[in-house]
């Protein structure tokens, strides 16, 4: 494939960032908006072209004769050479998951660009201050995210990893005059930065022992006869494992070096994908404008962690331990987030926690994926869920945005009974809820069902656990739905016009995404995205996924979901004392959930009390008083001495002579004693 289109895909958002960033304040708001949206549209189209060519062109650099999808490096430029072998390259790696992510990112990003044209101004059409800056940052983010997913080597990934972090920092802190936004952005950056430290050290370890950064050298072997085309297989990964095992120091503090490397790298993933205990930044990140939450904190950036694990999956297969750790972390996070989501008041927080929980689903499914079980069904399921989740979660967030824009508040307590006023939002939101709850035939059903199947294949315990989480998901989503759209509506205060659906720029993306969420489930992922590129089905048609269902699992999960929905309906359809009863029944649990199990307080304690209070301040004190003091002390001592000995210069000749005499005698005597 010619590198032209890929290059444009990366270059266009970057140029747009520079243009809008440098010249934006000179442009009219509308121009900036249109410019940004158009360029993103173009990028999206190009990304679609690339993806479609990859999947369906059948060109020999993308798929070989037995239908195995290959990894092909479109271009790969040296950027920084540490040594002859350790070279950071900037390149474009096209393979199933990067192609998939290209689609997801560009689609959601375009929707958000479009949506923001409406969202970023108030009811009277007055533009937000810094509107151009907003679009510049959006472009920067899109660029970084695209660069991340097409990375050909782990260091390129790290570079863009940092860049997405930075752009998310900028976007969360978009309303920089709001202290809460500022601290939220700071928190997001620092927490992820801490995770990235692990990632970095992991990279250092891995690259030190393998002497390379390139993914293709970790996970695949080159296809003979074709340059820059690789096929994923385990032999390379095994080779690396054995090579490290035979290296001088293969074990470090109990764990094998490879395990350490992989776990540390996964730590980076935990940070970006908000796995416990590094999840705390995501709920606060909702301080940013809602479209940003939809793009970055629901659909794209937060799945970077999943993507990272998927990228190195063959290596992870070499270390059972690492995969188990991923499973456990994922499962715990999923349950925790679902619990918390059940009691939050701020609708964006609810969505944030549901995001955490859904990403945890993907992690779990990666953790349980094994080649020997359904050709690594878990892997496929994770990617599938990543795709569908991106769609419906973005949808939900954009709906939330519409609501917030209409009401001017994040709390469902200010909303209630909006279904009459905002029909479009209502319907699309409902679709989103159904999708995430996993109701057939919406997208979520299929992906989540695959995941549960995969888990079931690995361990019953986690299967039950995850099904429970699925139930919780359905419950809290419908709780949210009812509390927003049903219940008795508020009186519109005098002078305010009643809430209503928004401009087309905002509703159109909702509709599109809703449609996608309805049909996405039928995409035959098994033939497109698998861990080693081998297709799962011989032939595919529209109902392949339906046919492939493991109906026992499916039925159970469906039942659980419906039960949960009924429960939610009973409790929240109309105002009733049940919720209060429940709350008073389990006050402690409710408290803990409501305060997110006090994670933030813990972090506050660690950072302020321990790091600032017990480390930084003492060090600063030490520096001022001990180090500085010692230097001043020398000067002081010198002064004192010079003051003390001034008596020698008493002004009296006889004393002078006396000292003279003593001096002479000493001089002679000492020398004599020394020499004779």
């Amino acid at each position: 494939m010619e590198p032209v289109i890929p290059i444009i895909i990366l270059a266009l958002p970057l140029t747009m960032f520079l243009v809008l960033g440098l010249l934006g304040h000179k442009m009219a708001h509308r121009t900036a908006g249109i410019l940004g949206t158009l360029s993103m549209g173009v990028t999206m189209v190009l990304a679609y072209i690339t993806t479609l060519t990859y999947f369906f062109s059948g060109s020999s650099e993308f798929i070989n004769e037995e239908g195995v999808r290959l990894q092909s490096v479109i271009f790969n430029w040296d950027w920084l050479a540490f040594t002859d072998s350790l070279v950071i390259r900037l390149g474009f790696l096209l393979d199933p998951i990067s192609a998939l992510l290209l689609v997801v990112i560009t689609t959601i990003s375009f929707m958000v660009h479009l949506y923001s044209n409406g969202y970023m101004r108030d009811h009277h059409g007055v533009w937000e201050t810094g509107f151009q800056r907003f679009y510049a940052f959006l472009s920067l983010f899109s660029f970084s995210m695209l660069g991340l997913v097409v990375a050909t080597n782990i260091f390129q990934m790290y570079i863009f990893w940092e860049l997405v972090g930075a752009s998310s920092y900028l976007l969360i802190g978009f309303y920089y005059t709001k202290p809460s936004a500022v601290s939220a952005s700071k928190k997001a950056f620092i927490v992820t930065r801490f995770a990235d430290l692990g990632f970095l050290i992991g990279i250092l370890v891995l690259s030190f022992y393998t002497g390379t950064f390139d993914f293709t050298n970790f996970t695949s072997t080159g296809v003979e006869g074709m340059a820059n085309v690789y096929q994923v297989d385990l032999t390379t990964a095994e080779g690396i494992r054995n090579w490290i095992a035979s290296s001088p120091a293969p074990v470090f503090m109990g764990g094998s070096v490879l395990t350490w490397a992989l776990v540390l790298i996964f730590m980076g993933g935990m940070g970006k994908s908000a796995m416990m205990p590094l999840h705390i930044w995501l709920p606060d990140a909702m301080e940013g404008p809602t479209p940003v939450s939809a793009l970055i904190h629901a659909a794209t950036m937060v799945v970077a962690g999943v993507f990272l694990v998927a990228r190195l999956f063959p290596l992870y297969l070499m270390e059972e331990v690492a995969l188990n750790i991923i499973t456990v972390v994922g499962a715990l996070t999923a349950f925790y987030a679902a619990m918390v989501a059940c009691v939050q008041v701020d609708i964006k927080r609810v969505l944030a926690f549901s995001t955490i929980s859904q990403i945890a689903f993907m992690m779990v499914s990666l953790g349980v994926a094994r080649p020997e079980f359904h050709h690594g069904l878990g892997y496929m399921a994770a990617m599938f869920h990543l795709f569908t989740h991106a769609m419906f979660k973005a949808l939900l967030f954009l709906c939330a945005g519409a609501l917030i824009h209409a009401i001017g508040s994040n709390d469902y307590t200010d909303m209630h009974g909006l279904r009459k006023h905002m029909p479009v939002t209502h319907v699309t939101f409902l679709i989103g809820c159904l999708a995430i709850a996993g109701i057939i035939p919406f997208a979520g059903f299929f992906s989540k069902d695959e995941i549960l199947t995969a888990v079931f294949g690995q361990s019953i315990f986690w299967y039950i656990w995850m099904s429970a989480v699925a139930g919780l998901t359905a419950f809290y989503m419908f709780r949210l739905y009812y509390l927003i759209f049903w219940w008795k509506e508020h009186k519109t205060p005098e002078g305010h016009h009643a809430p209503h659906d928004q401009l087309w720029t905002m509703t159109l993306p909702l509709v599109i995404l809703a449609v996608v969420s309805c049909v996405a489930g039928f995409v035959p992922f098994g033939n497109l995205v698998t861990w080693n590129g081998h297709p799962m089905f011989e032939s595919v048609n529209f109902f392949t996924n339906l046919g492939a269902l493991d109906w026992s699992v499916a039925a159970i999960s469906l039942a659980v979901a419906i039960l949960a929905i009924i429960l939610a309906t009973v409790m929240y359809k109309k105002e009733n004392p049940l919720p209060a009863k429940m709350r008073s029944a389990l006050p402690r649990l409710w408290d803990w959930c409501y305060h997110r199990f006090y994670w933030d307080e813990l972090y506050m304690f660690i950072t302020h009390k321990i790091i600032f209070g017990c480390i930084s301040r003492p060090i600063a004190w030490f520096d001022r008083h001990v180090i500085d003091g010692s230097m001043d002390g020398m000067a002081w001592v010198t002064q004192r001495i010079s003051f003390a000995i001034r008596g020698l210069q008493s002004g009296n000749i006889q004393l002078y002579v006396w000292i003279y005499l003593v001096g002479v005698i000493l001089l002679g005597a000492i020398t004599a004693v020394c020499l004779l």
Partner: protein
């Protein structure tokens, strides 16, 4: 006897001629012509200096009076260096000498000064202790009179008393030492002493050596023989102080090296190396420690010159051509730097009578050029590049380390650490002039042309002596030819 050997002393004789001319002029000229005394002296001395630069030297070392007196290119060179310093001093002194209080005694200052210079010449060229003693005394006794020059200032007299009594005491000690040396060696010729003493080190000789060293250490104001210095420098009239601080110190340093090397050379490394260690460390450290606290500029410079003497002695430790060259170069640079400082002090004192450091606050606002030259002098004394002081310090350290034993490294390290202390108090002056926020106490004034001339010369010297390698190279080449270190095995 053969009177032609007097011709060997042509520099001394020429100096005497200058002295006589000045004396006659001062004595027999009508009153109104006396106004020109300073001018005449300066001119005469300038001519003498030029002459001795061009014709004063000798191709190789010449002996006279059975080797009591020796002159050699090196001796001629050090004398010329002193001449340059004296010339600057003379020019600087002009405005002071012509001030009303001194008017009557105008000539005497010059005559006494020339006599002391003659004495120093003898010290430099003497190879026999009798001649040396004569030189020493005729260099120090008239100085006492000069210190007491300010008839109406009590400090001047107190300084004179202190100077004279301690000086005589020290020379008594010195002569006592000599008598022992004589008793042991049976001769007062440096060479003969060296031969006779051989390498036998008995206690008596060491005591004698200590006495001798102390006698010259007194002139150099090495600790602990330095205590007169501060008081005398403070009390004496500034032109005398500047003369005292550079010229007599330079001559004494050279003579010191000659005596140690030629008379007691055989003992090198056994005896006086250790004495010098002790003396140098004590001198540098004590000098600096006292200098920190001083607020009177002249007293401050007195202590700074004490520690400088310690650095000069490092050249003796080297005890080879390189060391001697470094020492002479150091003396040259030190003459210029110190005279620049004293020039500023003298100019200000003559105008305003202020000598306290606090009086210098904000000087840069009122008299930028004076403060600039003072700053340069301070930087040069502190050894800051690109000023000459840096080079002289670097060379003298290099020559000292030439011996290579760890002990020397320690010695030099101590000296180096002391340079930090000295930097501190030199910067105090700069701080007072440039940084201190207070209102300037000294109003803007225009110093006399003689002062300005001397300042120009010294500042140029400070800037050029280092960067232009000609000076050091000449000194080194001259020294390299000498056989001074012939005795060192």
């Amino acid at each position: 006897m053969d009177y032609s050997q007097f011709l060997a002393m042509k520099q001394e004789i020429a100096l005497l001629v200058v002295f006589l001319l000045v004396f006659l002029y001062d004595t027999f000229m009508p009153r109104k012509a006396l106004g020109a005394t300073s001018a005449v002296t300066s001119v005469l001395f300038l001519l003498f200096t030029v002459w001795s630069f061009i014709w004063g030297g000798t191709a190789d070392s010449v002996e006279a009076f059975a080797g009591m007196y020796v002159t050699s290119p090196v001796c001629a060179l050090i004398k010329n260096i002193l001449n340059v310093g004296v010339l600057i001093v003379l020019v600087q002194a002009t405005s002071w000498v012509n001030s009303d209080s001194q008017l009557v005694r105008r000539g005497e200052y010059y005559e006494l000064l020339l006599v002391t210079l003659f004495g120093m010449y003898l010290m430099i060229s003497a190879r026999h202790f009798l001649l040396f003693l004569i030189g020493l005394e005729s260099a120090s006794l008239p100085l006492a009179a000069m210190v007491a020059f300010d008839k109406h200032r009590y400090e001047s007299h107190e300084a004179a008393v202190k100077y004279l009594l301690t000086a005589v005491f020290s020379s008594a000690i010195f002569m006592m030492g000599l008598s022992f040396v004589y008793g042991l060696s049976g001769s007062l010729y440096f060479e003969d002493i060296a031969m006779q003493l051989g390498s036998q080190g008995d206690a008596m000789l060491i005591i004698a050596l200590a006495f001798v060293v102390s006698g010259i250490g007194f002139k150099l104001s090495l600790v602990p023989f330095h205590l007169w210095t501060a008081d005398v420098y403070q009390g004496a009239p500034t032109p005398v102080t500047s003369y005292l601080s550079v010229i007599s110190k330079g001559a004494a340093a050279f003579a010191f090296l000659i005596i140690l090397v030629q008379a007691f050379g055989q003992f090198y490394s056994q005896v006086w190396e250790w004495m010098l260690y002790a003396l140098i460390i004590a001198t540098i450290t004590i000098g600096n420690l006292f200098a920190i606290r001083q607020r009177n500029m002249k007293r401050f410079l007195a202590f700074s010159s004490i520690s400088q003497a310690g650095y000069i002695m490092l050249g003796v430790v080297g005890c080879n051509e390189m060391g001697l060259a470094a020492m002479m170069y150091y003396i040259l640079v030190y003459i210029f730097s110190n005279l620049a400082a004293f020039g500023v002090i003298g100019a200000i004192e003559n105008k305003t009578g202020m000598v306290e450091m606090t009086d210098y606050n904000g000087l840069s606002k009122t008299n930028p050029w004076l403060s600039f030259s003072m700053t340069l002098a301070m930087f040069s004394l502190a050894g800051i590049p690109p000023f000459a002081g840096f080079f002289s310090k670097f060379f003298i350290f290099t020559s000292a380390i030439n011996q290579g034993s760890i002990a020397i490294y320690v010695l030099v390290l101590i000296a180096l650490i002391n340079t930090i202390i000295s930097l501190y108090y030199y910067l105090l002056v700069v701080k007072a002039m440039y940084i201190s926020p207070e209102e300037p106490r000294i109003a803007t004034f225009r110093s006399t042309c003689s002062e300005r001339a001397s300042l120009w010369v010294t500042v140029l010297g400070i800037i050029l002596l280092g960067i232009v390698s000609y000076f050091y190279d000449t000194i080194f080449n001259t020294v390299a030819l000498s056989d001074i270190f012939g005795f060192i095995a």
